[in-house]
Symmetry: C2
Subunit: 313 residues, 2 copies
């Protein structure tokens, strides 16, 4: 029985996991619904079952776990998770006791950055920013070959960088945060407003068949719909400006965009590159490549495996 | 003859230097005018003379040199310096040959951050942001015990973070950079406009006796002048918001404000703290202390000595 490592990406809706050899070769994958409404004990029990299923009786050397929330990495606690409805859940210890193996946690977006670093777009790169643009916006920042965590383990919360003090209200209580201007949630919100204001917009036609989400807005914009185009242009201008600020601050050689919005590919990359070209210094813009994630929604599991492989922070 | 190390802070107007023992105890200090208009050869010759004067015949182990510009630390080049009027000056090599000792360069603001770290307000702190708020705004950022430099050695250029895309024009060609909203230059510019628009403002009375600079605006505001107060309030709100964004991104335990504007003390600290309290997450604002520099304009020399002491990056 060969020893395995396990990587888990705990999400608010779904949880993905993989078992791999100690070299990181994935041998089994699985996905379950996250039963967040039933409370943290149920979620942890489900995680334990998922892990033991993935291990299939093979000894577990270590588990890496990406958690969507603010963490205390020393204590192994989740201090706060909006997505899971958690406050002060000792997830690492509780889970470790149930499966009798060490559990290493990190923030889900930082874990995804580790995934892009070890197996994705950022392989071999020592200075990059991974930006997850989905329901919210978060980042994992690697500079000089190290993943920034910060003394309170909340470095990289770039979604709450304020870009427009008089802008739309954000869930965090402020206004004009990057997240409330450029996330999938923001694009869907503005798309719904544009559809209501423009009865002849393609947005309304498409929305008759499915939810008006950010992917639908990108699709309508790609087909030339003016109202949708304006929503995309505005959101991507803000995204690009936020990223330009990060390029100014960090001078990275690469920016990797992941999360649901990154699936729009060139519709995201072109305006982001334009804003970097406009808003950063020559020395910075010349070296700052921009790409979309190579792993898409598998970045989190890849990074969780890398967390387990490294076995410690 | 005991061996010494030398630290030099090369400024656009003045250059300061100190000689110290290998333990870093300062034994001599000196200051000269920077003859930037006479070209880089003259400046380098003046630097060599200053260094040899400071050494007074004692052998020089290493020289640390803070340079106000964009550098290539591998080549020892200054790629660009607006203050000095330099483009591609091989300063480290040229100077080293003249004094027959190794010369280690870094950006002047990063050097000042090293100074605050080794001898100033940030001693013993492994996660802090040093912000120089003077003619321009720059920073030196230490996270997880390391000074960020970035692959192009231009990490920390936070003065060009764009906070107000429709704001005043910046020397860099963009609009609404932190630097053009909150630097000493910005405060003086807005102070002059306020004086012109408000003939009865104390600003005009004070400006009859001396230049209307940022210090004068702070003084008029402290004495209750409404027009000056509004200039200070606006600039400090932007400064605080820029710093709040940095706290959101880095999660530091300390922010040290240096440069000329920091001499206004509480007039700077109070509004910056208020913006951090308003614009950052609890976990971040709880740990982010804010202080003004302990070394003022000696931070650069202290950091240059530290550069020399470490002898390498």
């Amino acid at each position: 029985m060969k020893t395995v490592i396990i990587g888990i990406d705990l999400g608010g809706t779904n949880t993905q996991g993989a078992a791999a050899t100690l070299d990181g070769v994935i041998i089994r994958q699985s996905k379950i619904a996250t039963r967040a409404r039933l409370g943290s004990d149920t979620v942890i029990e489900d995680l334990a079952k998922l892990i033991l299923d993935l291990a299939k009786g093979q000894p577990i050397k270590a588990v890496g776990l990406g958690v969507p929330g603010l963490l205390d990495l020393n204590a192994g606690n989740c201090r706060f998770s909006c997505n899971l409805g958690w406050q002060d859940v000792p997830i690492a210890g509780d889970l470790s006791r149930r499966i009798d193996a060490p559990v290493y946690i990190d923030n889900d977006v930082r874990a995804a950055a580790l995934g892009e670093w070890s197996r994705g777009r950022a392989q071999g790169c020592n200075d990059f920013i991974y930006l997850s643009v989905g329901t919210g916006i978060g980042s994992g920042i690697v500079i000089d070959g190290r993943l920034l965590r910060g003394p309170g383990w909340s470095a990289g919360e770039v979604g709450h960088m304020v870009l427009d003090p008089l802008g739309p209200a954000c869930a965090c209580g402020n206004r004009g945060c990057l997240e409330t201007l450029a996330s999938a949630t923001a694009i869907a919100r503005e798309g719904r407003a544009a559809a209501a204001a423009n009865p002849s917009s393609l947005l309304n036609e498409l929305a008759a068949e499915q939810d008006l989400d950010s992917a639908l807005v990108f699709r309508a914009a790609a087909r030339g719909d003016a109202a949708a185009g304006q929503v995309v242009d505005t959101a991507m201008a803000w995204l690009g400006q936020g990223i330009a600020n990060l390029v100014t601050i960090f001078n990275p050689s690469l920016v990797v965009i992941g999360g649901g919005v990154s699936l729009a590919g060139e519709q995201v990359l072109a305006p982001v590159r334009a804003q970097i070209a406009r808003y950063t210094m020559p020395v910075q813009r010349e070296m700052a490549q921009v790409a979309v994630s190579a792993l898409a929604d598998r970045a989190g599991v890849a990074g969780a495996l890398e967390l387990a492989r490294r076995e410690r922070f």
